[in-house]
């Protein structure tokens, strides 16, 4: 089963995204801060990570940077969710290496399609 890890601190967004992705047959886990996100990625090796930029403890950029630096993880597809100052965030994340951007508010269909595209091998 394809595993999706959602790192997002807004519980309502987590709830609806999990619902939608589970209906599509994905195994979904969610975490609410950057440190836990990094630990879960290392432990559980998901197939795709949906990563919010503004996370407590370790922000999304730092999580992304650590992932890209780790030889065992650097090919993990990462979808970054941005909300504030979109173009600036986008630029910074591109510098670090992101697979795909989703700007809030996104549609469920966009997310599902993106997850499907990134996990299709």
């Amino acid at each position: 089963m394809t595993c999706v890890l959602i790192a997002e601190d807004e519980p309502h967004i987590v709830e609806s995204l999990s619902f939608v992705l589970r209906r599509e047959g994905y195994d979904v886990t969610a975490v609410g801060d950057g440190e836990t996100a990094l630990a879960s990625v290392r432990r559980a090796r998901p197939d795709v990570l949906i990563l919010d930029v503004m996370l407590p403890k370790l922000n999304g950029f730092e999580v992304l940077k650590q992932i890209r630096r780790d030889a065992a993880l650097n090919s993990l597809p990462v979808i970054v969710l941005t909300a504030k100052g979109q173009s600036q965030d986008r630029r910074l994340a591109e510098e670090i290496g992101v697979s795909r951007f989703m700007t809030k508010p996104f549609s469920n269909r966009e997310v599902v399609e993106e997850v499907r595209r990134l996990t299709r091998r």
């Binding site: 309502h12 609806s16 922000n59 504030k84 600036q88 508010p105 469920n108």
Partner: protein, 522 residues
Amino acid sequence: MPRALIGARIRDRRRALGLTQARLAATLGISPSYLNLIENNKRRIGGLLLKRIADALEMPLEELDGAAERRLISDLEELTAETLLVDLHLDPARAADLAGRYPDWARALVRLQRAWRERGEIVAALSDRLNQDPFLGDAVRRVLDSVAAIRSSSEILDTVEDIEPVQRRRFVSIIADESRRLTDVAQALAAYFDRAHVGTRPITPAEEVDDFLFENDNYFPSLEAAAAELRAAIGLGDAAPERALADYLSKAHGVRLVVVPEHEAAASGPKDGFDPDAGTLVLADTTPGATRRFALARLAAALFEGGRPIEEVIERAPLLSSDAARRRARRALGSYLAAALLMPYDAFLEAARRSRYDIDYLAQRFDASFEQVCHRLVTLRRPGASGVPFGLMRIDPAGFLTKRFPLPHLPLPRHGNACPLWAGYAAFQTPGVTVRQLAAFPAGERFLFLARTVEKNRPAFTLPRRLLSIMLACDALHADQIVYADGLNLSSSAPATPVGSNCRLCVRRDCRYREEDPIIDA
């Protein structure tokens, strides 16, 4: 005010008060004949006696001895330097005439100028403040979070036909919750805008050029290509670049390099030393090597293909609306092309990466100055082959920013000073030593600052030392690629200096380093 007028003023004022010479003399404890000499300007007086006369005549001393008028004259002289009035060619020497003959009109002018300046500063600060306001940034984020949750939940309700009743209720309640949160944010935003009134910013030519460079990410592919062509035409290699440049200028453009003693260079000709009619580039014999090479490179760049590469960039720039802005941009792009000529992109990027952006190494490797290397580092923004994104600023000893290349998240103040805590200011305390700093901004962004003063050429012992501080900044996320961050804890939870952008815009109310009140109380 001329001393000669003091006597007349005393007499006028005494008469206006209805006092006789004898009466006033008695009050002052001097003889009436001596007072008569004073009133007829036959005796120069000052100090204590003048103060006693002013008191007896119930008028401020500064009005009597002309200090007020002198201040008015110097304010008027300052006004003649106002950029807005430059084309009127006001003569500072005439300020005394105006102040003497029409003091009220002179005061009105000074008062208007002050009010006009203050308004300008408020407008600029407000607009800076809005661009980096943590409250607004946070509010927008909360709005988007709520809308994202609402959109996602409502799409589920709309499209999932076989949804369980309990799940359906859950998503309806999420929508209700998020709608309430949205209401709170919207009300807070409305209240915020009730307090802060937004103005539009007057754009100066310097700001237009700043915006233009920023829009282009300070990277100009056509100029990089032109630099490569020009480099080939010159036959510029790593060896003896100065000779090659001078030979090229002489052969291709008939321009001779003339080195003259400092005082002759300062006295003659245009500021950049190039005289097209005489076909000479005049440089002082005290000009340092790196500056001399750069001057040669800049001239070669400006003359290359009749200036076409630079003009083409300027013609395509809608942001440059005035002649003054285009002139400035032409100068900036000329320097860009010269830097690209002396520090070719690929070789420079490779050396920068290999040395982990060690500026001293790069300065030696490319025979360039510290400042020239910092400038070139800021331009390494070629898509697909970019270096660490740096911002740059240069600070003069009075604290003003005289050059600025901002980063998207790091706004450099357009006017006046930056935050006094920035490494760029600390660098003045230890001239020539590189100062580094991990700086945390109120909204949470972190930057690595590194700064060092550079000493501008001092041609004589009698002239004051001229230090400028150059500061580079990069996002803390990139700092691990840079030699200057070695040994620093770069994690976002590690300690960092709490800084702001400048005091007037800063939200750190209790900062003990605050020098000015914030312009908006948030």
